[in-house]
């Protein structure tokens, strides 16, 4: 097990290096906007652009620039780990990402809990009662939830429930998270984003669980459980769902990893200053160091979560050993 983890961690490092190289290549080697011009602000003089070019070494060969960026990521030089400087605000990227991390974590955690609480009962019931009214209604709704883009759903939610502009002004809306105070204040501000973000995931998970459970209920060991004379409830929950839910752990791990890297659409629609919103702003303004930083962060979460899931599997499925 330990050897397996070490081997996987080594791969994580290789993978992150490759991702860094790819983002660097896409944004600096390929034809793109001139970073010096971006940093110089509006209507800069050619002298200013030239001095910025000198200051940040933008005329150096690309491999040198890449190495300099790697130095910004690794704690081996004097200025420590900072992921470079934002072109826009001229501040270090890393502290800004860490500053925005709590909002993204809070958004993700709440949404995950919410969609699991919705998806597991619905997926289970509609698998057990295939073809029933409840099954057809929930699976129909699920299809809608999957098809509706988050920004559309988000805007509809704001239109309906935003306490300032909504038809039914019930909930804190766009931008409320920044102003809200305390745990419950912040949580209140996230009710709408949580619901919107959880909708599509709840739908996907409910359908996934339903499909898995329908297959699982055909397994021989379910017949054995019934032949033992167990109550149907126990057969479904302890024998059926227990087996059908295991593959969902994989899905969940990757989705959490993706969301921790920033729920770009949700954070943008609801104006939550998380990593996703940070990335969105950076993309809009072509702020290369910030884009690179957020991409690297997102990749980091995904590979770490997938490693975590693989390790977790050894504990939830006794057949898996490393």
């Amino acid at each position: 097990m330990a050897a397996y983890i070490v081997r996987r961690l080594a791969w994580v490092i290789v993978l992150l290096f490759v991702i860094t190289l790819i983002t660097f290549t896409i944004f600096t080697v390929l034809p793109a906007a001139d970073p010096a011009a971006l940093r110089a602000g509006r209507q800069p003089s050619p002298e200013l652009i030239e001095s910025i070019r000198q200051q940040f070494g933008l005329d150096d060969p690309k491999p040198i620039q890449f190495l300099r960026y790697i130095q910004d990521i690794l704690p081996f030089d004097n200025d420590g780990v900072n992921f470079g400087f934002s072109v826009q605000s001229n501040t270090e990227v890393l502290p800004q990402i860490l500053d925005r991390l709590p909002a993204t974590i809070f958004l993700t955690a709440g949404a995950v809990v919410l969609w699991l609480c919705i998806a597991i009962p619905i997926g289970t019931i509609s698998a057990v009662r295939t073809g029933s009214l409840l099954d057809r209604v929930t699976m129909g709704l699920a299809l809608i939830a999957i098809s509706a883009p988050v920004y559309f759903l988000g805007l509809v939610a704001l239109f309906l429930f935003d306490e300032d502009i909504g038809r039914f002004p019930l909930l804190p809306g766009s931008g409320a998270y920044q102003d809200a105070q305390g745990f419950f204040g912040k949580a209140g501000a996230l009710i709408m984003p949580w619901c919107v973000l959880a909708a599509a995931f709840a739908a996907i998970y409910a359908r996934f669980l339903r499909g898995n459970l329908i297959d699982t209920m055909q397994e021989d060991y379910i017949r054995t459980a019934r032949a033992k004379g167990l109550p149907e409830r126990t057969v479904i929950l302890r024998h059926g769902v227990r087996a059908a839910i295991t593959p969902i752990v994989t899905l969940l791990g990757l989705d959490i990893g993706i969301l921790l890297g920033g729920a770009i659409l949700t954070e943008t629609v609801f104006n939550i200053q998380g990593i996703g919103r940070f990335a969105y702003d950076a993309i809009v303004r072509f702020d290369l160091p910030v884009i690179q930083g957020t991409v690297l962060f997102g990749a980091f979460f995904i590979v770490m979560m997938s490693l975590f899931v693989d390790i977790l599997y050894a504990f939830i499925d006794p057949r898996v050993r490393y």
């Binding site: 017949r223 054995t224 032949a227 004379g229 167990l230 006794p318 057949r319």
Partner: protein, 353 residues
Amino acid sequence: MAAPLLEVSDLRVHFETEDGLVKAVDGISYTVDRGETLGIVGESGSGKSVSSLTVMGLTRARNAKISGTVRFDGRDLLAASDDDLRQVRGNEIAMIFQDPLSSLHPFYKVGDQIVEAIRSHKDVSKAQAYDRAVEMLGLVGIPEPRNRAGAYPHEFSGGMRQRAMIAMALANDPKLLIADEPTTALDVTVQAQILELIERLQSEFDTAVVVITHDLGVVAEMADEIAVMYAGRIVEEGAADTIFNAPEHPYTWGLLSSIPRMDAPRGDELVPIQGRPPSLIHLPGGCSFHPRCPYVRDAHRRIDPELQPVDGDPRHEVACLLSSGTRRKLWAELEAGVKPADARRDVIEEGAA
């Protein structure tokens, strides 16, 4: 004489499907006495598994139409509520299945799965149930049972898994054990051990056993009575000796000549039964075996034979339109090495006269 432990009469199990009505079981009757062993033999799709699952109440589904009666120990199981039936399952009637790996839950330890079976029927503590589980595992011949009870099914060999299934089935000391193809998925060397084990435990626990198999060899040693099923019906039933030594249904002959025999001359070919089992949706008219029967005559395509006692043996019943005399002659010829195809002209025509 006391009432039989299990009395199935005129059991029909039909499933409505998109393709039509599947007559999986179409009017079968049999009885099993306490401590007795009944072998139900037939090809896949003959309805042998469905009939036993129905006894357990495991075919209850929206598309299943079940009729007839199943009397078990004085109660009508078909009329019983789901909850009453659940009390019987795993407690008074237990079942083991074909593939012991897929029949055990992969995520739970073997001992815990047996504990679950015990505690769903007996009001005992976990520790007591676990002791019983370990005791049962020892009884079915698993070495170091206390250790092995903590292992997962995938850590057992195929034979060990089936032993564990048997331990689980017998943990509540059931009156009836239904074994559905208990050795089919196992290595040949392990098959005999498992059959021996079932026989030994049967006499120890005084359990009645229903063995379902496609392989007459499996029931040869252990069954007292044998019922041969074809296309949802019983076509021949009698004492095991009779079925092996004086079978009267051409389908049974086919089954017998398709298993290797120690006393057959070396080099003798096994004779498979021609054709395939019929569709249970569109059964052939008349005798449902007629398309595959080497001795078929015109009338057999129209008349549906009933299960009737043969001359001189009321316990031996056969559903065949040939006369008992003709059947005995044909069997004697088969035993003498005459191929079914050669028998057609002389004997059948004689029977027709």
